[in-house]
């Protein structure tokens, strides 16, 4: 079944609010363990609680509108809207980014190697795969990572390990 953009957006809003609700409960759970005010009347727990209440209050009108949009009938022309594309290239790049950070952090893969592979992967994810682009991105990644690691280790004393 085709779903209209407005309903999709309303579902998105409700999803966001669900996440906010989880966050608010984390705030309240965390605030319960905080020490009682000692140096001034507010204490450590006041701000989390205030923000928790604030987030709930601000969520209400958004939730109200989203539910109303979900229940209302769509206008007849809604079906003509172009379908929403899934951002699959963005997902690929995000996956590459996660792998890159994990390789550096947990795998302790050398910086130059990890960066070259990452630039090649994400570059191809964005612009498409061809022999020429593979070579270009490998050179780009190699050049960039060599330059960065030279600057960081020799001048700025930052170590990637």
């Amino acid at each position: 079944m085709q779903i209209s953009r407005r309903k999709l957006r309303a579902l998105g809003d409700l999803g966001l609010l669900a996440a906010v609700a989880v966050g608010v409960s984390v705030l309240f759970i965390g605030a319960a363990d905080l020490p009682a005010p000692r140096f001034e009347p507010l204490g450590s727990a006041a701000m989390p609680k205030i923000l928790g209440v604030l987030l709930i209050l601000l969520s209400l009108p958004i939730a109200f509108r989203a539910i109303r949009n979900l229940l209302r009938r769509d206008p007849a022309d809604a079906k003509q809207e172009p379908p929403i594309q899934l951002p699959h290239r963005g997902v690929l790049v995000f996956g590459a980014l996660l792998a890159y950070a994990a390789a550096l952090d947990f795998g302790r893969v050398p910086f130059v190697l990890a960066t070259t592979v990452f630039v090649a992967l994400s570059g191809m994810a964005i612009s498409g795969i061809s022999v020429r682009s593979v070579l270009i991105y490998i050179f780009l990644g190699l050049g960039l990572s060599l330059a960065l690691s030279y600057i960081f280790t020799n001048f700025l004393y930052v170590r990637f390990a």
């Binding site: 140096f39 302790r108 893969v109 190697l113 930052v158 170590r159 390990a161």
Partner: protein, 331 residues
């Protein structure tokens, strides 16, 4: 050469060995890896990373960089000391980074007694048992100061006023930081109480005191001296009077058993081999006795001295016990 160094470093743990093997496999450079021989060679064979738990520019950072520069210049170690900053989390960030590194003397920490306060407050997940003390390279003590136009000219006047009117004066401190603990120890000893206002850096304390939003605050002696005649120092927390301000009495000579000497403390992970620590200590001791370093210390109202690792650890253990007592009373 650099690559081999890297590899030996990777093979210092099972997980790391795996990573190294993967790395080597990918690069197609798998060859005979000489792991053990790298250590038999004389330490150090690669740069030594010195982690500073603060942002660049402060005292701990500056002293570490000066000493590292001097050691490199004189060649007291075969490899340079490389200073990196890992501020935040009351030192937890720096400790985590130390744990990430090795315990062969290539990852060490330069800290001061804020470390003990973090332990006394049970902030991070670290304690003295995580460290092996390399030694103190000097240190400094703070003063308690008021504005130049303050009605108080001696510490006794201030104490009398506070005893007559409890909590009538505002002290600029960062709760849970050195000024809070030192002020708290002094207040406990003299039997008075102040009100607080949050000031988490020396800059904040200056701003609040000079702007009239606080009445008294703790400063390093050099911060105080740089302000010229805008402030009056009431009491110095060193064990003896400071030559740069001969008229300011110490707390001990006034009969209060309070002193605070904040050292430049060099620390290694607890399982670092003793011979490695000895090499580092020897280089640091030479550095702190160097005339250039001594001159910088004196100019910045720090005392240059060397205290060996075990002595420093003993001193720190005692101080920590004291701080725990204070933490119970001021928190």
């Amino acid at each position: 050469m650099l690559f081999i160094n890297g590899l030996t470093k990777y093979s210092r743990g099972a997980r790391k060995t795996l990573a190294a093997a993967v790395a080597v496999g990918i690069m197609g450079l798998a060859g005979p890896i000489t792991v053990e021989s790298a250590f038999a060679q004389s330490y150090p064979t690669e740069p030594i990373q010195v982690i500073i738990p603060f942002k660049p520019g402060g005292r701990t950072d500056t002293v570490a960089r000066l000493i590292a520069e001097k050691i490199k210049e004189k060649g007291w170690l075969d490899q340079p000391m490389v200073v990196t900053n890992a501020p935040g989390g009351a030192g937890a960030n720096a400790v985590n980074q130390m744990r990430r590194g090795d315990s062969e003397g290539y990852t060490i920490v330069h800290w001061h007694h804020q470390a003990l306060i973090a332990m006394a407050m049970e902030l991070g997940d670290f304690g003295l048992e995580d460290f092996k003390s390399i030694g103190y390279t000097g240190g400094g003590s703070p003063v308690w100061a008021v504005r130049a136009d303050s009605e108080f000219n001696t510490i006794q006047e201030l104490i009398d006023h506070l005893k007559a009117n409890p909590r009538s004066l505002v002290e600029a401190v960062g709760i849970g930081s050195i000024p809070h603990f030192v002020g708290g120890m002094f207040a406990n000893a003299a039997g008075f109480e102040t009100r607080y206002v949050t000031a988490n850096s020396g800059a904040d304390r200056l701003r609040l005191l000079l702007g009239g939003n606080a009445d008294v605050a703790l400063f390093s002696a050099s911060e105080f001296l740089a302000q010229g005649d805008t402030m009056k120092a009431l009491v110095y927390f060193g064990r003896e009077r400071l030559p740069n301000m001969p008229d300011v009495p110490t707390a001990t000579e006034l009969g209060f058993d309070v002193s605070w000497a904040n050292p430049n403390w060099w620390l290694a992970p607890a399982d670092t081999p003793d011979e490695v620590v000895a090499v580092l200590a020897a280089a640091l001791e030479k550095a702190i006795n160097d005339p250039d370093i001594t001159a910088h210390f004196v100019a910045n109202t720090l005392e240059p001295y060397w205290m060996s690792g075990p002595d420093a650890m003993e001193d720190a253990t005692k101080t920590l016990a004291e701080l725990k007592k204070v933490a119970a009373t001021i928190n």
